[in-house]
């Protein structure tokens, strides 16, 4: 025996100022909640998408990132001969790489940010086969030429196609732009690793990492076993995807904890607001409720009716919160990758899952804010309330 929902719609409309406040309270909370999570998601997605399942990254044993430790040319040769490595004809698809950071001014603030400069081998695009040159061309081995990620020209000053820049004591020309599908590589600058070594006066046969393209994702085990079993090798082998996922943990933990605290405290505020709104709704309508009870609507009907009303308010709030953060989707921002001290551009990612979580969060707040007033509404003595003014 339900009380008609139209009663709730009309009642919400009749008390709109109070309802709007509750709606905005919930909308604000849901908005902040989704925004923080989308930030964390975006950061994580950018790093995770940098890895592919059929690539293996080899770094010095115990190193936490490519930046630390070295891989020698001898070791690279062993990696090239390891089982499971894909080949282009007879050439093994392994890119030994050197990574440095170079300061370039951020367009947004004009202050320097550390851009990751990656010295790669000539077959880097075969090793990372998802990365495509979209403008210009790949660098010529042996020349001081740069190809830059898609985000680079927009994020930093001076790195447009055709520009010549100076860093590390060398003069470099930007000859191409590549698209790395929204991954961390999109914030990187690539050049020939041998040229980079020369310019930076690094020892010629020392690299910081080697990325091997495998014949299949399943080949990793075989590859890894062979390398770790080799007594000449002192390296860690990880699936590229796992390596990047691990790099994202510190930042995502930070954002998630901060966002979690902010959203949960806000949720308290919003629930208090919803409680107040619903309690005052119950108080203002005590005679109406008593009338319904006298007519013969049972206590459960009254509880359900008020819950519907609270859920209605919170659903609208949740929807509004979702709509408010939707424009954030795809918005690019920058942050530090703590593991490499380099600057990384990434986009907020407002996914359907996050939106659904936001709505559920809103409904949960509505439920918590609605149950006590609804129970109170149903438990008030009917005879007294009927005559209340």
């Amino acid at each position: 025996m339900p009380i008609p929902v139209v009663y709730n719609f009309r009642s919400v409309r009749a008390r709109w100022p109070s309802a709007i406040v509750a709606v905005l309270g919930i909308a604000g909370t849901v908005g902040v909640f989704i925004a923080m999570l989308s930030l964390a998601m975006g950061f994580k997605a950018t790093l995770v998408s940098s890895g592919t399942a059929d690539n293996a990254l080899v770094i010095r044993a115990g190193a936490t990132s490519e930046m630390m430790g070295a891989v020698t040319l001898d070791e690279v040769k062993i990696i090239q001969d390891a089982p499971g490595v894909a080949r282009n004809g007879s050439a093994p698809l392994v890119s030994p790489e050197v990574v440095v950071i170079a300061p370039f001014p951020l367009r947004a603030t004009g202050t320097d940010a550390n851009v990751q400069v990656r010295g790669v081998s000539g077959n880097a695009l075969l090793v990372r086969d998802k990365i495509k040159i979209v403008q210009g061309r790949f660098f010529q081995p042996g020349l001081s030429e740069l190809v830059v990620g898609r985000n680079v020209p927009d994020t930093y000053n001076g790195l447009n196609l055709g520009n010549t820049v100076t860093f590390g004591g060398g003069k470099w020309t930007v000859v191409g732009i590549f698209d790395a599908g929204g991954s961390a590589f999109d914030s990187e600058v690539w050049c020939d690793s041998r040229v980079l070594d020369q310019v930076y006066k690094y020892p010629e046969n020392i690299f910081q990492s080697a990325t091997a393209h495998l014949t299949s994702p399943a080949a990793l085990q075989e590859f890894k076993d062979s390398i770790t079993a080799d007594p000449r090798m002192n390296v860690d082998v990880s699936r590229e995807i796992d390596y990047y996922a691990k790099q994202s943990t510190r930042m995502t933990t930070l954002i998630t904890i901060l966002g979690g605290v902010v959203a949960s405290i806000m949720a308290f505020g919003a629930i208090f607001g919803a409680l107040n709104t619903m309690y005052s709704a119950v108080a203002e309508r005590s005679r109406e409720i008593a009338t319904m009870r006298a007519i013969g609507f049972g206590a459960p009907s009254v509880i359900i009716s008020f819950l519907i009303e609270a859920l209605l308010i919170s659903f609208i709030g949740g929807l509004l919160g979702c709509l408010a953060v939707l424009p954030l989707n795809g918005l690019t921002t920058g942050a530090m990758n703590w593991q490499t001290f380099s600057h990384l551009a990434f986009a907020f990612r407002v996914t359907p899952l996050l939106l659904a979580m936001g709505i559920i969060f809103a409904l949960a707040m509505g439920l918590i804010g609605g149950v006590p007033p609804a129970v109170r509404a149903a438990s008030r003595p009917v005879a007294q309330s009927l005559r209340e003014l």
Binding site: L106, T111, F167, L275, S280
Partner: protein, 383 residues
């Protein structure tokens, strides 16, 4: 306060609502404090940077080294009180998650450049004579439960291959400046350099200069960079605060993010509390009219309603601040060193109280004015 008994009687008329309103205020002020603390954690380095210090780094990037021989050339520039050099020692204590900065330092000069980082003299003396000695910041020592005399194993891959280095904790430094960094871990540069392969010996990470006079900063910085211009190791010299600020900027637009969230939070809670106040007054319209009918002035009614909302704001706000002050250390632990220092400063607390009172007054103002302007005749009939 002549009307205080009336005010309190009104306050406790609806206990549940009173609790909820106080709760919303507490939530708002908790968030305010929390966001302020996080924001200052990011900009802490800038705020506490010594005005009289310059940082000299390799122009190419912070991770490129500078030769130790440059020190003597820098010292020829007038206006320098002291100079020290540091190396980044990216080691791992037990687990990668236990991050804290470790520096190989110039033991002769570090204390002269960073006088605010205080080590007891006897501890410092032990450190000087202990090749494998180390000094840790009070916060880091507390975090891992270290005591002077402990042996600390640190793994590193950055220099000289993998392997655990062992250090004797000879002393603990405290930072004199409120909110100053107490997380660093210092080891002797000499010990560090001995372990370097031949081609990496004699290199340092960066220099820190302490000036005789802070006003000389621009001149000295220019002079340093001029000395090394067109050399193999060009330098970039900037004040410590500019150096710190450029790091903060790279974290992304933290300030903007926090300001945005903060205003959403505040706007939301202002609405919530304002609405509650309005409801409370609306429900009492008839009573307020009676008060006016028996001779209370408009202003008395205004102040009574306003006083009520400000009182609620003050109680709720204080509660929120107290909770925040208690919760911040817990959070700092949960973040496990991800953020430099989380401190609740008195300034934050005072600003918070001010904010709470302002919101209280603001949210009470509209209903209070409504109550003041109430026409007795209308109100008594409006049931």
């Amino acid at each position: 306060m002549k009307y205080s008994s009336l005010l309190f009687a009104n306050l406790f008329r609806k206990k549940v609502r009173l609790m909820l309103t106080i709760g919303s205020f507490a939530a708002a002020l908790f968030l305010f404090t929390f966001l302020a603390v996080v924001k200052s954690a990011f900009s802490r380095g800038v705020e506490v940077a010594g005005a009289d210090r310059l940082v000299v780094i390799n122009r190419t990037s912070i991770i490129q080294p500078l030769p130790i021989a440059d020190r003597d050339k820098i010292l020829t520039i007038p206006g320098i009180k002291a100079i020290t050099h540091n190396n980044w020692f990216g080691g791992v204590y037990q687990d990668e998650k236990n991050f804290f900065p470790q520096f190989a330092i110039d033991i002769e000069n570090q204390r002269m450049v960073f006088p605010e980082m205080v080590v007891p003299d006897d501890q410092w003396k032990t450190f000087l004579n202990d090749r494998q000695g180390a000094i840790a910041g009070a916060r880091t020592a507390k975090r891992f439960g270290w005591k002077v005399g402990d042996r600390i194993p640190i793994k590193t891959t950055l220099f000289g291959g993998p392997g655990a280095w062992e250090f004797n904790l000879d002393g603990i430094y405290h930072n004199d400046r409120p909110g100053g960094d107490e997380s660093q871990f210092w080891l002797q540069y000499k010990y560090f350099d001995e372990s370097m392969p031949a081609d990496q010996k004699g290199l340092i990470g960066w220099y820190v200069i302490r000036l005789d006079n802070p006003e000389d900063a621009a001149r000295v910085a220019g002079a340093v960079d001029a000395v090394f211009a067109n050399s193999t190791y060009e330098t970039k010299t900037e004040t410590e605060s500019a150096f710190a600020a450029s790091w903060v900027k790279q974290f992304g637009n933290i300030e903007f993010l926090i300001l945005t969230i903060g205003s959403v939070v505040f706007f939301t809670l202002l609405l919530v509390t304002g609405n509650t106040m309005a409801i409370a007054v609306r429900e009492r319209t008839a009573e307020l009219a009676v008060l006016k009918a028996v001779g209370f002035s408009d202003r008395a009614v205004l102040f009574m309603v306003l006083g009520e909302s400000i009182l609620i704001a003050a109680i709720g706000g204080t509660l929120g601040l107290v909770f925040a002050a208690a919760a911040v250390p817990v959070l700092a632990n949960a973040l496990n060193g991800l953020l430099p220092v989380l401190v609740v400063s008195p300034v934050t607390l005072l600003t918070g109280v001010g904010f709470a009172l302002a919101v209280g007054a603001l949210s009470g103002l509209i209903p209070a004015f409504g109550a003041m302007r109430l026409r007795v005749v209308d109100a008594l009939r409006r049931v």
